[in-house]
C-alpha cells in the first residue's frame, strides 16, 4: 500500500464539526458531556476520547478588525514521528509506524507510565498524544482499519465542503500545492504547514499561530533537547543492539 496523506484546506472549513462527530462515531468514542466555557469550540481539547477537534480562533486582523479561523486538529502522522523515537526508547512497540501507509499508530495494548507519556507528548511538535485514565495512549489512527479495506478515513468521508481529502501522498501533495497557488491570489500569507514532514497537510490563509499554538512545527522540527540528544546517540544504540 502506498504512502498516504491528508490534505486539510482550512479556507473551505466552515466549522460545521461533522468531522469531529463522525470521528467519534467510527472510533466508538463517547460523546463527552460538554459545557460552555467561553468559546464555541467544544469539547475543549483533544483527549483520549476526542481524536479530532475543530479549533475556533479569534484574532485581530488589520486595523483591529476581528478574524475568525477554524482549524480541524488531528495527528499529522509525521514522516519521521518524534513521538515514536521517544517511545521506542521507553516501551518497544508502544507506537507503530505502519510502513505501507505511513500511519503512526498508538498501540492500545501497551500501557505507558505517566512520566514516559509526558516525554512523548512533549516530543510531539503538534501536541497530539493523549492518554486515557487507564494509561493507554490515544489519538487519530488515520482510520487504518478503514483504509486497509480501501475506504476513506471517516472524517474525510463526511466533510461537506471538501475541506478534507485523503489519498496517495504524491497526489495529495500535488493537490495541496495546486490549491495553495489558487488561494495565494487572495491571501498572500497562505501556506502549507510542514508539507514535507507530515502526512496531514494543512493549508492556512494566515500566520499559523493565529489558528492554533501547535498548527505548525517550529524550525527545530520535533526537536526537544532530549530528542536531539537521542538522535545523536541513536546510531550507537542501534549498533549496540546489533552487536
Amino acid at each position: 500500500m502506498a504512502d498516504k496523506s491528508f490534505f486539510i484546506d482550512t479556507t473551505k472549513c466552515t466549522a460545521c464539526r461533522g468531522c469531529q462527530i463522525t470521528c467519534k462515531q467510527w472510533n466508538k468514542n463517547p460523546g463527552t458531556k460538554t459545557i460552555q466555557r467561553g468559546t464555541h469550540q467544544n469539547p475543549s481539547d483533544l483527549s483520549a476520547s476526542t481524536f479530532k477537534l475543530v479549533r475556533f480562533s479569534e484574532v485581530e486582523g488589520p486595523g483591529g478588525a476581528p478574524l475568525w479561523y477554524f482549524f480541524p486538529d488531528q495527528c499529522r502522522h509525521c514522516i519521521s514521528p518524534p513521538c515514536k523515537e521517544i517511545a521506542d526508547g521507553k516501551v518497544k512497540g508502544a507506537i507503530i509506524h505502519d510502513e505501507a501507509t505511513g500511519a503512526v499508530i498508538f498501540n492500545p495494548k501497551v500501557k505507558i507510565k505517566p512520566e514516559d507519556f509526558k516525554e512523548i507528548r512533549e516530543a510531539c511538535p503538534y501536541d497530539i498524544p493523549r492518554i486515557s485514565s487507564a494509561g493507554v495512549m490515544a489519538k487519530c489512527t488515520m482510520c487504518i482499519d478503514r483504509i486497509k479495506e480501501g475506504l476513506l478515513p471517516a472524517c474525510v468521508k463526511t466533510c461537506p465542503t471538501g475541506a478534507m481529502s485523503f489519498g496517495d501522498r504524491k497526489e495529495i501533495l500535488e493537490k495541496a500545492n495546486k490549491r495553495l497557488e489558487e488561494v495565494k491570489k487572495k491571501y498572500k500569507e497562505a501556506m502549507l504547514a510542514n508539507p514535507n514532514d507530515v502526512r496531514a497537510i494543512y493549508l492556512l490563509m494566515d500566520d499559523p499561530k493565529k489558528y492554533h499554538k501547535f498548527a505548525v512545527a517550529e524550525n527545530t522540527f520535533g526537536m526537544t533537547r532530549k530528542l536531539a540528544l537521542r538522535r545523536i546517540i541513536k546510531p550507537l544504540r542501534e549498533l549496540s543492539l546489533i552487536g
Binding site: 460545521c16 464539526r17 461533522g18 461537506p160 465542503t161
Partner: protein, 189 residues
Amino acid sequence: MKITRRDFLKISGVTTAGTLLGGLGFDLKPIESYAQELRIKGAKETTTICCYCSVGCGIIVHTDPKGKVINAEGDPDHPISEGALCAKGAASYQIANNPNRLQKVRYRAPYSTQWKEVSWEWALDKIAANIKKSRDASFMEKNTQGQVVNRTNGIASVGSAALDNEECWLYQKFLRALGIVYIEHQARI
C-alpha cells in the same frame, strides 16, 4: 412482482447453471457460497426537503423495508443545495432515530403533578368535548355595537410554520369553522 414464464426460465437458468460455472468458465461456487452467507439489507430512497431553515435543501432519506431510517444525506440533484447539508440538516437523521421522540398521547389532569398515557380515541373525544364547551360558552353572535361577528372568543391557537402547506390550510379551515379569530404562529415572532 409478476414473473412471466419466460422470465422464470431465465432466472432459474442463472441460479442453477450460473451458480456453478461463470460465463468465462471460472468456478463461481466460492462466490455463491459467500453470497449466501452475506446478510442482505433492503432499502429505499425517498426525496424530501429539510425541516429547519427556509432554504429548502433536498434530502435523500434511506429507509429499510420496515420504514426505519438508516441514513439521510443531501440530494445532489437539488438545484439549490446540490447535495450539501448544514450541521442541522445532516443531523436530521437523529430526528427519526431518537429515543426521546414523543410516542404516546399524554394527558395531564388539572392540578396533577404528572402525565398519564392515554389513547388517541380518549384524548380526541375529550378535546372535542372541551372545544364544544369552550365554544358554546364564549360564542358571540353580535358585538357590543350590535354588529354580527359570529366568533368564538374563548379559544386561541398558535401554529405552525412546521406544518405542511396542506396541513396549514386544513388547520385554518378547522379553526375558522369553529369561529376562532385568535389565530397566530411563528411568522409573527
